[in-house]
């Protein structure tokens, strides 16, 4: 049984009299990977800063193992803070060599130079950048810089590694590399990893547990078909633009970037496109079939994967198979905005 390494109770944070975070209870177990998901402004970064002891909540209690942090002296809090580290979304490398960047956390902890050298070497190996010690920070590519930042965090051997949107600003190739690194860190040195992401599938791929935040509160379950995109106005109506060439008709007053979800029970499947009042209809291919008791869950790729749920009876009647080409139809009002 893993021990609880970090726990918060009833924490609240308010900025300019707006509640940005209101979490009743949250516990993290040693050695696990956690993903915190939620739209922009849902309080993810604030939560990370509070967990990492960089910001104080206005109310509530926090525990590191069994020690109540609020009751500690500043010196003890610094000691606890030094057992964790946060890698920001838009990370910064000091204008030094890679070596001196990674050495920083060790120097301020008074680590002897011999040990520093070793730790720096190991950290660079772990992120797949051996021999990068003497490179200057400004000579690195974006993906390399991201990995050096993680090496810098690993060198101090944190109990908990926080990563704020670690893959937000890098290309797909580096995302794969970074996901592998996160897995390795957790497996090989048993670091507890807590990261935030926009990408739900990434969250489920990497994490043992997914925590969803919405408007500063933890929501019990992530809705299916949660998508991130842009509300645009065209021909006098509002559209939700997910990826290029795919846009859903929606009913909203909002503009800009939003999350939407589509209840899988409200999506109709058919072989032929049919005339109806529903304004959204897309051709796609069935990529996954999961049978659950009397319901069947189908994943259909229309450019983005969408999940639909139909009864076992209609699944059998329609004779759907993997790879079948089908139309998905749903009303604009079935698209729920956050």
């Amino acid at each position: 049984m893993n021990k609880t390494i970090l726990k918060v109770k009833n924490i609240k944070k308010t900025y300019n009299s707006k509640i940005v975070l209101d979490v009743d209870y949250l516990a993290f177990q040693e050695g696990k990977i956690y993903a915190i998901v939620g739209p922009n402004g849902s309080g993810k970064t604030t939560l990370l800063n509070i967990l990492n002891l960089l910001e104080k909540p206005d109310e509530g209690q926090m525990f590191f193992y069994d020690q109540e942090i609020n009751k500690k002296s500043n010196f003890d809090i610094l000691e606890i803070r030094r057992q964790m580290t946060l890698v920001n979304q838009d990370p910064f490398l000091f204008h030094y060599t890679v070596y001196n960047n990674i050495a920083y956390g060790l120097k301020i902890r008074g680590t002897p130079p011999k040990i520093q050298q070793n730790r720096i070497k190991n950290a660079l190996n772990m992120v797949g950048l051996p021999g990068f010690e003497n490179r200057k920070a400004n000579q690195l590519s974006g993906g390399e810089a991201q990995r050096v930042v993680i090496a810098r965090a690993l060198a101090i051997k944190p109990e908990i590694l926080f990563l704020d949107e670690p893959t937000a600003n890098i290309d797909q190739r580096h995302i794969d590399v970074l996901e592998r690194i996160i897995k390795t860190i957790n497996k090989e040195i048993k670091t507890t990893v807590i990261f935030t992401t926009h990408n739900l599938s990434q969250a489920y791929r990497l994490a043992d547990e997914v925590i969803s935040l919405l408007d500063g509160k933890i929501i019990k379950q992530v809705p299916e078909n949660l998508l991130w995109g842009e509300i645009i106005e065209e021909d006098g109506s509002k559209w939700f633009n997910v990826v290029e060439n795919i846009k859903f008709a929606v009913v909203t007053e909002k503009v800009g970037s939003v999350y939407v979800s589509i209840d899988p029970r409200y999506i109709i499947l058919s072989y032929e496109q049919f005339q109806s009042s529903a304004r959204n209809s897309f051709l796609g291919k069935i990529t996954k079939i999961i049978e659950q008791n009397h319901l069947v869950k189908l994943e259909v790729d229309i450019g983005v994967p969408l999940v639909t749920i139909i009864t076992r009876e209609s699944f059998q009647d329609m004779n759907f198979n993997l790879g079948s080409k089908v139309y998905l139809t749903f009303k604009a009002s079935a698209v729920k905005l956050y």
């Binding site: 610094l78 803070r81 580290t85 920001n88 990370p91 000091f94 101090i156």
Partner: protein
């Protein structure tokens, strides 16, 4: 015309024969200005840093005042310090007037606003993420502040060098507070003023050349640090 050419000849002669009097004056000038700059840097970098990172009541007014002090006439500093340390002044008992210490005080007052103002803008130009990154890696508040100054190191050095350039070349305060006493408070600039009025052009030109070489070196250094800024 002839006296100018003779003066220049005499000047090179003095420089290349390492004339003792000239070098006493040069060393005294450097000593006074370096000590003044040392203390100005301690205070100026600290205050400039605080002004950049802290918000306080009257901040804009303070910045405007500091910027005004950049153009502070050296004779006004001389006058002010003089009135304090002259025998009748409130600090008269210390007997500072016409000592190198008096010149150091005057030059300290001249250089500090420059270092404050330039450090302020140097630190303001530093990425906000520096402080935050240091904190996430376990730095204390003061360790993270030190990291910000280190990130601004070239620009802060440029601020210190600019301050030095101002005080090594000023004459008003040094003359009024030091009194131009031979061997004790005679600096390059005050000596040039005196020797010129005596008609000793060679001596004046020699010091002028040395002063120019120093100024040139300072500017080369400054240029080097400013180019490293980016």
């Amino acid at each position: 015309m002839v006296f100018i050419i003779e003066g220049i000849q005499k000047a090179f002669q003095l420089i290349f024969t390492l004339d003792k009097e000239i070098f006493i004056i040069v060393l005294l000038s450097l000593r006074v200005s370096l000590i003044a700059i040392f203390f100005s840097s301690l205070l100026g970098v600290y205050l400039g840093f605080l002004m950049a990172v802290k918000d306080f009541w009257g901040k804009n007014f303070t910045i405007a005042s500091i910027n005004t002090l950049l153009a502070l006439p050296t004779v006004v500093v001389g006058l002010t310090v003089y009135s304090f340390i002259s025998r009748k002044g409130p600090l008269g008992v210390l007997g500072l007037l016409f000592t190198p210490s008096a010149m150091i005080i005057g030059q300290f007052i001249l250089a500090t606003p420059i270092i404050i103002a330039l450090t302020h803008s140097a630190v303001q130009g530093i990425d906000e993420r520096v402080r935050n990154t240091a904190l996430t890696l376990g730095a204390t508040e003061s360790q993270s502040a030190w990291m910000v100054i280190k990130e601004a190191r070239y620009a802060v050095l440029a601020a210190v060098i600019t301050g030095f350039g101002r005080v090594i070349a000023e004459v008003g305060a040094a003359m009024m507070l030091g009194g131009n006493i031979k061997g004790s408070t005679r600096t390059m600039t005050t000596a040039i003023a005196l020797e010129t009025s005596k008609g000793e052009f060679g001596f004046g030109i020699a010091l002028g050349i040395i002063l120019l070489i120093i100024a040139f070196s300072i500017n080369i250094l400054l240029h080097y640090f400013q180019s490293k800024r980016v």
